[in-house]
Point group: C5
Chain length 366, copies 5
């Protein structure tokens, strides 16, 4: 999960923004964007048509008033495609610009009779966290979903449509939209779960071992957390705004399902907030462990120094070369057992130092 | 209380969530979930029937318009049971999913004419804090309560019903719901009280002793606190939303009782917020004690070094082997009482060092 | 003010709460609660009756529609008294439970045509801060005030009633309630003022002296502050909610007086918030002083070591016992004035070290 | 600006508050309060009367329905004056109490048809910051301003009235009130500007020099900042509440001018918030500089010790007095050029230590 | 970007404010303000007139009811110009004062039928960040934009008008206003992007290298961040207030475009908030790196000291000059291979010290 931060960090660098001074609604197509592929599914409770089209105009054949048409576009590498889609579905240029240019915060905006939804798709690819955009346009009888990068996020929904499982076939375009959002939110749970396990691993290791330097790990985790929160929190806030009866496109029943989505994001945000607090506890804890370790190092030096530096002074004293044949000069040197006496003095000094240190409580490891 | 954090930490790992792509409303039954047991109590002010049933369909016999039916389910280990209950009481699939899958934040949601309530049951079992879910469905003439784990939390309520004490027998399903919530909230108080005692113990010990390392303890307390707050705070916020007249299921009188519940959770949250602040004060205080201890260690080393290192240099000086028979070489060595003079110099140096240190105030223990 | 924290800390331990499972509205009478004494005052602008009663029923004689009856109860040690009072004045059991059990946050709740008010009475007794509860029930023609502990807080109000000073005799029960609350709020000012003086004393001492360890003091002050805020802040918030016209019991004129109460609590909370910020400034300041002191200690050791350790090495060099009669062995020892030369080398080394240290700026005390 | 904090700190000590138990509306006149002087100005677009009166009753002569009467009182040292003023202008006793007793937070309160405004007057007198109160009562045809301390803050407004400059003469009492508030707010700008310069000076000095201890300075600045915010922020919040059409006393045009006042205080608060953030950055920065300095001190000691302590050991080794005539005892001592060999060993040890240190990067100053 | 902070810091010093006591609406023209140049563009969908005028009165010729007149003023160095403009377009004196005096926070204010908008223009000139003001007055048929400093920010808008690209020619004055604001907001993105790159560079360098002192850099980045947030955040807040239908000057379609502007500023603020959090993470990380470095320095000293100080003591012991011919004095000195024995003792002492240190884990680099 290390490079998660780096990957997503590229996002806010705005490399894909149209040049300042461009007309509003200009599409900024980056070099490495994939050519879009279009999958069209037309269904109601009785019929089902599934097609992969290359010509945008041919989509018009699959739109009718008593069916739901879901167009899923993967890749944003061709401006004209989106210009045509924009005209065909009557979608506002500014909204389509946001869908094509990517780098939007999660949001739910209403443009007259259409609703424009942006969701971030997080997926972990070889230790990297990819953070792509999914844009959804919801109209009365259509859903247009645009994935910034190709990726199979909606397999189970396709299956539900094909096999008439669940309510999608029986419900309107609003329920399909709910199903798409729900699928993305469901994919957040394992990611956040893995993150939680990593953070608890650090917590446990901090308590058990005293040797490693976890600060870099904690710093990285905090960065990842920021990315996760930036992707999920605004989605939750956007979902709150749908809860009341402010749009006619969502029927009462679907609103109950959206409330469930809100509830899930709320659970995730709650958890991420907890992780965030835990991270700052870990920082505090780590700092205190570092301080304690420093304390222990200093104590060893101080104990060594306090005992041996005075002793060395005494040995130095009796190593001085005063002429002992002269009076008053180092009488001890000339005594029998003077050496033993000197040693006794040293033992006394060392002993009183040890008592002093023991009283300070420095031999305990705290 | 140490492993409290670990136990509850497993909760957000979402091991029990249905796989991504599952239909909304899918029950995720974990391996170790207990087989549900169902206790049915049908009562009004005049009559009382109490049964333990195994066949869900037989519950229908105990439901009538002029009685209250309370079904208490313990254990969530069988999907079909909850499917039947869901149909029998007309409960929304999404709500029943939340009840069976567990891991929900405390909340109060209205589904048409039913109200769905989630409360966390905290209980301390052998130094472990178990954090289970209690889900309550409230209808006009029934209360369906689902305990994630078997446990006797409602003994006193049963007694009140059996012995016609208090108002339960005389009141509607809303009052029974209040009584259930109130019983759970009452069980929080001793837990929070114990926590408060632990934190104050640390506070007192920090002030009195200087030897132990309390950081791990403080870190653990902060983790426990996070768990407690995560379980109680959302309940308080949910209870606020019931206070105004937004649901018809709660009558005026019961709302006064619910306000009392709110008041209790508010008291608990208030207290937990205080403990949280106290924890960060303890961290500050602990850090400063560690710093002071380090200071003291350094001062002892510095005092020893400052006095004896110069003295050792002087002894080294007179231990040099210059040929004293040559002119200019170490005249003191050849003087009578030179040793005494050297000692005097040393006493002078040590004395002035002591004065210097005394002036710095390093002999005081601050 | 040291033990302030300990005293009030006992409050949230809930030792006085009814056992979990008790019926709502159960009174928990603690062992050491005083037997209640009841003082009854019946007044209007013309008449005044003052009695101390022992039989609760006899209070009924002092209640009439054209007078105000103020019953002041001191001590909560008898359940039956409060049961009788509850019935006589038509007070809700839950509210009376809160009044008797104590440990409530300050609040203003309306129960139909009665208003229930909780205020914390802070009083400093022999360096201890007592934190008792005052509960007030306000009805159309009565005020029932219940003091958790006996204490003379309302002497000036009695005087005003007896001597017909001020507006109490001319006004309704709402004005008397205001007067009681105002008396309690007025008693906060000297407490907060004393606290402010203590905190500023620490501030001044930190700046002037460098020797003492103020962290324990700061830690204690922060604890006291938490207690003060917990008692005053919720009262302010409760008083806001009375400001608009949400209750008919308070007339327009009294609301202006309550706004004045709100203003006073707001002033106190404002001040306590300032003290809180100041406390964390003091912590920062103290930490930096400790760091600086450590720095100074280390500098002294480093200066001593940097100068004398190299010198000691040189003396050690010339103290080696190489056979100087052999070629190449320690020629300096055999030179006349070799000692002087060695000393010169040492002076040179010490001098360059001093220059190095001086350039680092370590002799300045910063 | 040092003693700013001390001066204003006296304010919240409530030395001037009436004794607890005093009747509401009691004036607390402190000993050192100046005797009030009263200046009366009666004007409309055509006429202008200016008088200094000593007898309060004579003010009545200068009040009429078609003129604006501005009474400016300097000093609050006489209770009877304010009692008379209170009666003459029909001002509420509680409001007049706030005006006379001082120590109020900035606020705008409406009392029926009068508006009561409190503003703090900050002025720097000989390095001291005086924090006095200005109270303004606004009625339909009068403005009563009460300065806690005499001081000429309204010179330019007098000039505008006398010379008929600007709109004051043509407008109502609300515009005059605006002019008074605006004059006070204008006087905040140089104070805040000076503060900003001081804080930026510290910022620059921290970056350039490494020797001084700025923590005391930063601590003082933070205290001053708290005082400034306490005086300005509530005023801004009060001015917001005037913006909507909640009072009839302010006409539409004057409200635009008050919005401008709000805008100015908003600018000031914004700036003070920035300074506050900058202060905590400075604290962080200072702490890190202190840590770095400590690091450097320790490195010098460690380098000295690491090189010379092993060398001293070697010299000590060859300074031992073993009898070299016995076999196996210190053979090097008896070799020609043994001294040179020993020196070579020392150079080798010192060299490898230097390489070790150089690799650690300790010679760089970071 | 270093001096960014200094440049913008000059802004709040209020050097350009009118003197306290000045009439409201006074223009404060600073010495170094450029003489204003006026460009007039009159257009509708059919016609286009472009002129640079010197005489303000001649602008009147270019105003008509069925065209849009855009007057762009660069430089604010002449009071009379703005007085004339104020009268010509019926702009409120207070608003014009804000436009001329500069130093305003971004805001959108309505003055009757005109709207006054302030935006900060950030531009990086030779490593300096210039922070100038752009004031826009929007009327029914005119837009008056006033740049504090000359600068070509609207080239692309001019081009769109001249070449009839986009919607400007077809739309009203509200759309032109949107285009001006959008151009400024677009210019923030590269600035914020550069800032983001700088902050991530520090992040990467902190992780890879351990030698440099990044605190000054982090401190500077935090200062820059404060400036950016101060310029962008209030603009976002102002744009929210335009979203609802509170002004008639903005038509529905233009409000959708303004919502897009809001969305962009929201994205920027979101990003800046992230950077802010990242900065405090970097501070934590840096502090911990410094602590670790100190730990390592101390460990080297302690290891050296712990091993060699006891050894030096032993050498000192055998360097004492006791008379070995007397009994009991240093017997080892007189033994054959006594030297080897002494060396063995030393190796033993050093070895046990090494084991002690190795067990402490001090040889690992954490």
């Amino acid at each position: 999960m290390k490079s998660l931060k780096n990957n997503t960090a590229k996002l806010p660098r705005f490399s894909k923004r149209p040049a300042p001074g461009a007309l509003p609604g200009t599409f900024a197509i980056s070099q490495d964007a994939e050519t879009p592929t279009l999958a069209v599914i037309q269904y109601n409770s009785e019929q089902l048509v599934e097609k992969t089209v290359t010509d945008v105009d041919s989509i018009a054949d699959y739109i009718s008033d008593d069916t739901i048409t879901w167009v899923n576009v993967q890749g944003v590498g061709d401006a004209s495609t989106f210009l045509q889609l924009s005209n065909m579905f009557g979608v506002h240029r500014l909204a389509m610009e946001d869908a094509v240019n990517g780098m939007q915060r999660p949001k739910i905006e209403s443009y007259g009779e259409k609703i424009f939804i942006v969701v971030r798709v997080l997926s972990q690819v070889a230790k990297h966290l990819r953070n792509d955009q999914l844009s959804i346009f919801l109209g009365n009888n259509f859903v247009l979903s645009i994935q910034e990068k190709p990726g199979d996020h909606f397999g189970s929904i396709l299956e539900q449509i094909r096999e008439s499982k669940g309510c999608i076939r029986k419900s309107g375009s609003d329920y399909l939209t709910y199903a798409l959002i729900d699928a993305i939110i469901d994919s957040y749970f394992p990611l956040v779960g893995d993150f939680g396990e990593e953070i608890e691993l650090v917590d446990e290791q901090l308590s058990s071992s005293v040797r490693l330097n976890y600060m870099e790990k904690i710093h990285d985790l905090r960065g990842d957390l920021m990315t996760l929160r930036r992707s999920i929190r605004p989605l939750r806030d956007a979902l709150i705004s749908v809860k009341p009866t402010n749009t006619e496109l969502f029927c009462e029943e679907t609103k109950i399902y959206l409330r469930d989505c809100y509830d899930h994001t709320n659970q995730l945000v709650d958890l991420l907030d907890n992780y965030r607090e835990l991270c700052s506890h870990l920082r505090d804890y780590h700092m205190s462990i570092v301080s304690n370790r420093m304390n222990e190092v200093m104590k060893v030096l101080t104990i060594t120094g306090t005992i041996f530096i005075p002793l060395s002074f005494i040995t130095g004293l009796y190593g001085m070369n005063f002429d002992t044949s002269l009076p008053g000069n180092m009488p001890l040197l000339k005594l029998p057992f003077g050496y033993i006496m000197a040693l006794s003095i040293m033992v006394g000094v060392a002993g009183s130092m040890l008592v002093f240190i023991w009283r300070k409580g420095w031999f305990s490891s705290g």
